[in-house]
Assembly symmetry: C2
Homo-oligomer: 297 residues x 2
């Protein structure tokens, strides 16, 4: 029985991080500085705290400086903006991240728009999104989740040009930048969303599928063209009383069915997730290279 | 034999311009001002000169103030930037347009990026493109060619939500913003470009086709699903010695074949073209409304 090759995001991410660590050592030798990542966390969401911890640990592993700020839930927008501006002005910081989601009383647009585009390692500033969408313009950064997907394709030898890609989901963070990036690399791209009446039929045209929906196991085996390459961005907790935590994580793709049809597939966890962090580090390194006038090799 | 209904862009554009003229009269009554459009023309391209003339005439017809600047081919970038800045600072100007293409020695990105986003009636500033691409962000302006296409669909009762749309071409001016706008209105959108190996097959999935390619009569009848709605943005001169000028204009769609398959279709000329000018006026009016704190009714 056919089974898809597993795209081992964890192993690839580890390799990317090792490459980054080497470059950081060289940077320290040549200019005596390390890349710096600042993360602003507002509130006490458990998942957000976990993500910030993961980022901090990843920074330490590759030799980045980490600047963490933890603010209470009731912090005003102006106070958050003060920290954003402080990091904008701090030459040791090359990337500033505001952990999302923000509390309801804060305007995400106002906060994200205040991060100088030179430090917008999230790639969420409209200026960077606009440049990504345009021919002949280079964004300073692009969404690291989307970049992680593309990097997985490149590092597993998947040809993008000339292929039909279907991206399911059109969020600012994943779906839209992933579609733009695939198109930049000359895939023919279709974007499926919640108002698409026939997502299965549309997805069956795809040589490459990126699922970024947030619906557990939405994409069934029957949605896939035999041999399709499947990247599953979804991270969804579903109840599982056999686990200590009472839940397990599943993707937006029904892995069991899809792995019988696809040629390559990312597991959840251990697929796209680890690459996301590696690409955040990569964006921050790029920014530091620019700040110190270094050419990436 | 079936023949598609013609989408009469000329008549619809005339109607839009009449609506605009009424609003301009009201604006003059209420605040004593008219919308103002500035167009900077560099060089002596015949087609560009014609377009500027058309814009000037359209402005006069609806009661806009027109600010035209004509500069020689060898104008430096700095000189052009001076005019852009002058118009940025002039409160009587609500839209500033630099006629494209610019001479080779000028950076289009630098010039277009200098137009303040408040007067970017072209919708070509990356900030406006980025906001158009993002969920929950409103661009101040969007490409008027793309807006013209959508307006033609809306005014001829074509439902967009839930439909599969194929946009052929991905330029900054037409293809990309048209795709983003269709997606914003909940179409499922596929973008076809020069690296798409099977454009006919992909296009046959479409309920709505927008062709913005610049290749005369590329889209054949066999590319279309019966009943598709076809918008032809192309304006291509082809040799025709029976005409006084020695050429005639054809679209990117083979009209003769397509009109036998489509349900609705725009002719060339007289389809998308006139709407483009009407939407430029519409963008400029919107800008003036914002400047004078008026609410569009
Ligand atoms: N691996 C990683 O590092 C990351 C993982 N994620 C995970 O990826 C998933 C998506 O995240 P995110 O993009 O932020 O989610 P959002 O909720 O912001 O966006 C979800 C998108 O999916 C579309 N959608 C929702 N339901 C359906 C449906 N039934 N059929 C087709 N489309 C649908 C929505 O369409 P519409 O626009 O019409 O509402 C929307 O565009 C989540 O599981 C999240 O946890 C997110 C970021 C990073
Ligand atoms: N009606 C109006 O008011 C306007 C009309 N136009 C007309 O619209 C047309 C397009 O203009 P514009 O968008 O500026 O043109 P561009 O040349 O900037 O872009 C053309 C696009 O078409 C794609 N393309 C080229 N050849 C093929 C092919 N054989 N198959 C599929 N795709 C192809 C290109 O792909 P790739 O990216 O891979 O190179 C590119 O994305 C022109 O005829 C122009 O005169 C333009 C503006 C306004």
């Amino acid at each position: 029985e056919h089974t898809a090759t597993i795209i081992d995001g964890k192993a690839i991410a580890r390799q990317v991080q090792q490459e980054i660590a080497v470059k950081v050592s060289k940077m320290k030798e040549s200019v005596g500085k390390a890349p710096g990542l600042a993360v602003i966390l507002v509130g006490t969401r458990k998942d957000s705290e976990t993500y910030v911890q993961i980022k901090k640990k990843a920074c330490e592993e590759v030799g980045f400086d980490f600047f963490g700020v933890k603010l209470p839930d009731n912090t005003t927008q102006d106070e958050i903006l003060k920290f954003v501006k402080k990091f904008n002005d701090n030459p040791a910081v090359h990337g500033t991240q505001v952990q999302l989601p923000l509390p309801k009383h804060i305007s995400e647009e106002a906060i994200l728009g205040a991060v100088t585009i030179e430090k917008d390692v999230d790639g969420l500033h409209p200026m960077n999104v606009g440049r990504l969408a345009m021919q002949g313009r280079n964004p300073m950064f692009m969404s690291f989740s989307a970049k992680g997907c593309i990097e997985l394709l490149l590092r597993t030898g998947v040809v993008i040009q000339g292929k039909h890609a279907v991206v399911i989901g059109r969020s600012n963070i994943v779906g839209t930048p992933a579609a733009l990036l695939l198109q930049q690399r000359n895939a023919t791209v279709t974007v499926v969303h919640s108002k698409t009446p026939n997502p299965a039929e549309v997805t069956r045209n795809a040589d490459i599928v990126i699922a970024a929906v947030g619906v557990p196991e939405l994409v069934r085996g029957s949605w896939l063209k035999p041999g399709a390459v499947v990247l599953d961005v979804g991270i969804n907790p579903v109840e599982d009383l056999s686990k200590k935590k009472g839940y397990r994580l599943v993707g937006d793709v029904c892995y069991k069915e899809a792995s019988l049809v696809a040629s390559k597939i990312t597991p959840v966890p251990g697929g796209v997730g680890p690459m996301t962090i590696a690409m955040l580090l990569s964006n921050t390194l790029e920014s530091a290279n620019r700040a110190y006038g270094l050419v990436d090799t």
